[in-house]
Assembly symmetry: C2
Homo-oligomer: 373 residues x 2
C-alpha cells in the first residue's frame, strides 16, 4: 500500500465520549454553564482530538506552502508571478504578515517550496544567507525554517491542459503528509496551514466549483484585488479549464491534478497527516480551505481534526466550509492568506484550552452554583 | 466645574487625517492593499487615537467593576446574590475566566469594589491574604489589584424605587474617571472594561431599552442562563421599574441612577476617562456596553475611543452597538462578562498594531507592487 492509503487507513473518527468528559470539567468551572461559548467548544474538541484530558499546545507551527501557477499567464491576478519567490524571501527575512502574526501567536513558520518556478541555487547558500541575516540583526526575530520539497516548477496553464500529472499531485500530498509526520514526531501539538502563490485563488475557485457543484461565477472572487474586467476574465479562464480538463468530482486527486496547484496539494497532505497523527489543524482562508476540501473528499474523517480559522472575503469560501460542516472562528475581512488567519485563530483556540485548564472550579473557589431556573 | 464636566470638556473628536497617515504605511506593506481587513482598521484607529505614528501597547489593563443589585431579590438571576462577593475572591485568587484570559492577552486585572454589598473587613488584611497566596504559590500568576472604591453597598430594588441617588450615580462615574486618570499616568496604553454583579443584565436591559427606545421584551435575554418563566418575570420587573421611575432618556445620569448599577457607572467613567486621556478602551459585552452607552449619551465623542470586543449572546447587545455605530471584533457566543471578551479582543487589536509596525514594506523586501487591474 502506498503512503497516502496507509495514512488514510490510520485516520479515526473522534470518539465523542471525550466531549462529555471535557464538558463535565467545563461545567464545574466558576462561570455559568456554556457562557464561554465557542471557547468551550475548542477545549472539548482538543480533548477529543488528542484523547487527553489535559492537552498541551506548547509547540505550534504554521506550514506556508509556496507554489507557482501557469495560469498566471492568463492575467488572472493583480500581481506578477515573480512575487511568489519575492515573498518567499520576505518570509525568510521575517518581514511578511505571517511572520508577524505567527510570532504574536507564539507559532513557528515553516516555509515549504513545493512548486515555485525558481531555482534557489545551492540551498546551503540560502541557509548561510539566512543565518547571516539573523546574526547581523537584520532579521531580529530568529529564523523561519525553509524546506525545499519542490515537486514541480509551477503548474502548467490549466486553460491549456491539466495543471499537473496525477503522480505529481499525489507527490504533493505526500510531501504534506511526510511533513506532518516529521513535525508530530518533533513534538508539535497544533498545525496551521498557509500558502503563497500568485494566481492561486484561480485553481482554488476551480476546486471549489467542482467539489461543491456550484457555478464558477458564484465561487470566484477578487483575490489580491482585481477589477471587474479581470474578474470576468478569471471566471472565463476557470470555466474553460474545467470544461477542457473535465476533472472528476468523485476523484479528488484528479481534481487536484487537473485544476489545482502544488501548494494546495501540500495543504491537503498536512491536513491528512494531522488527522492521522491526532493533531488539530487550523485551516487558514480560501486557498487553504480548497486544500482541506481535497483532504476531506479523500477522507471525510479529516474534518474531525480541522478548525476553520476565519471567514475569508473570497466569496467561494463559505460553500466549501459548509460542505465540510465547519464554522469559522474569526471574521475580520482578511484575504491575505500565508496562514495569517490560522495564526490569529490559534490564539482563540489556545484561549479555550487555557480556560479549561486554568480556571478554578466552584468547589476550589467556594462559589455557590445552585441554579434557580 | 465638577470633575465630570471638566473631563468631558477635554474629550476631542479624532482627527481623521491620522487615518490617511496610517493607511499610507499600511498600503506600502508587503501585502495586497486592504487584505488584512479589520486588523488595518485597528492600526489606523490606534494611530488616530494616540496621535502617534508608532503607538505602543506595552501596558494593558482590564478594570473589572463589582457591584450588587437590589433587584436580585425579584428572582431575575440564576445565581444567588452572594456569588458577587464570592467571585471577587475568585478574581483575587486568579481563578476566574478574566484572570485566565487577561493573562493570555498579557493584560493586568484591576478589580474594583464600587458597589458590592459586603464588608471586606480591613483592606490591609485582604491584601496580606493576597500576598500570602501569591508567595505560597497558591496563586502562581501574580497578584490581581483590588481597589476599594465602594460608593454604595448594592443598589436598591429598582422595582420599588430608584436604584440609587443621582449623587451616587455621578460618584460612580467619577470613580471610573479617577481610575482612568491614575492608570493613564501610570503609563497604561489600553484599557478594557469588565464587571461582576449578580442580576446586572437586568439594569443593563433597562438602560438599553430606555436609551435605544426599544421594547423591553426585545432587549432582555437570559443572562447567566435563566429559563422561560424567569425570563418572563425579568421582563415584567424591568417594565415595572421603567414605568415606576420614569428615567429620562435625554438625561443619561438619570437613567443610570434610576435603573442602572454602580459597576455600570464605573464603566461609563472609565470610558469617559479613557477618551479624555486619548486611550483606546475595549468595551466587553452586554453590561459593559450599557456602561459605554451611558458614556456615549453623555458625550458622543467617546465613541471615537471605543472598540467593541465581541458580539454577546444577550439579545439587547446589538441595538446598543448599533446606536453607537460600533462593530464587534469577535463573535464567539460569549456571555460571561468580567472583561473576558475585552481580553480576547485586545489580542486582535494588538495583532493589528504589530502588522502595522513590524511588517516589511515593498521597498525593504524588494517585492514588486505593480498592480494590474
Amino acid at each position: 500500500m502506498d503512503l497516502l492509503n496507509t495514512i488514510i487507513s490510520n485516520i479515526k473518527t473522534i470518539n465523542k465520549e471525550w466531549y462529555s468528559i471535557a464538558q463535565q470539567r467545563l461545567d464545574n468551572l466558576t462561570k455559568p454553564q456554556g457562557s464561554l461559548g465557542r471557547l468551550e467548544e475548542f477545549a472539548r474538541r482538543l480533548v477529543a482530538i488528542t484523547e487527553n484530558t489535559m492537552p498541551v499546545l506548547d509547540k505550534k507551527v504554521i506550514f506556508t506552502f509556496a507554489g507557482d501557477h501557469g495560469v498566471a499567464e492568463e492575467g488572472v491576478s493583480a500581481f506578477p508571478k515573480e512575487v511568489t519567490r519575492q515573498m518567499v524571501f520576505n518570509f525568510l527575512n521575517c518581514g511578511a504578515g505571517i511572520n508577524v502574526l505567527a510570532r504574536h501567536a507564539g507559532a513557528e513558520v515553516v516555509v515549504v517550496d513545493i512548486g515555485v518556478d525558481y531555482d534557489w541555487g545551492l540551498s546551503q547558500d540560502l541557509r548561510a544567507k539566512r543565518s547571516e541575516a539573523v546574526e547581523s540583526g537584520l532579521s531580529p526575530y530568529g529564523p523561519t525554517a525553509f524546506i525545499l520539497k519542490k515537486v514541480i516548477s509551477g503548474t502548467r496553464n490549466m486553460r491549456k491542459g491539466p495543471a499537473m500529472t496525477r503522480q505529481d499531485a499525489e507527490q504533493c500530498i505526500n510531501v504534506g503528509i511526510e511533513l506532518a509526520i516529521e513535525y508530530a514526531q518533533k513534538g508539535y501539538k497544533i498545525f496551521g496551514t498557509g500558502e503563497m502563490g500568485i494566481a492561486n485563488t484561480t485553481p482554488s475557485s476551480a476546486i471549489a466549483a467542482v467539489l461543491t457543484d456550484k457555478p464558477v461565477s458564484e465561487i470566484t472572487g477578487r483575490g489580491t484585488g482585481i477589477g471587474d474586467e479581470v474578474l470576468r476574465n478569471k471566471i472565463r479562464v476557470i470555466e474553460d479549464a474545467i470544461s477542457l480538463n473535465k476533472p472528476n468530482p468523485l476523484d479528488p486527486l484528479d481534481v487536484l491534478a487537473k485544476v489545482g496547484g502544488a501548494e494546495i496539494g501540500g495543504i491537503a497532505g498536512i491536513t491528512i497527516g494531522a488527522a492521522a497523527n491526532r493533531i488539530p489543524v487550523v485551516i487558514d482562508g480560501f486557498i487553504s480551505t480548497a486544500g482541506a476540501l481535497i483532504a476531506y473528499c479523500i477522507e471525510p474523517k479529516t474534518e474531525d481534526y480541522m478548525f476553520a480559522a476565519h471567514n475569508s472575503v473570497e466569496i467561494g469560501h463559505k460553500a466549501m466550509l459548509e460542505k465540510m460542516g465547519l464554522k469559522p472562528i474569526l471574521d475580520l475581512n482578511l484575504r491575505l492568506g500565508e496562514g495569517t488567519g490560522a495564526a490569529l485563530a490559534m490564539l482563540m483556540i489556545e484561549a479555550g484550552l487555557k480556560i479549561y485548564k486554568e480556571m478554578a472550579t466552584f468547589g476550589e473557589a467556594r462559589v455557590s452554583n445552585e441554579i434557580q431556573n
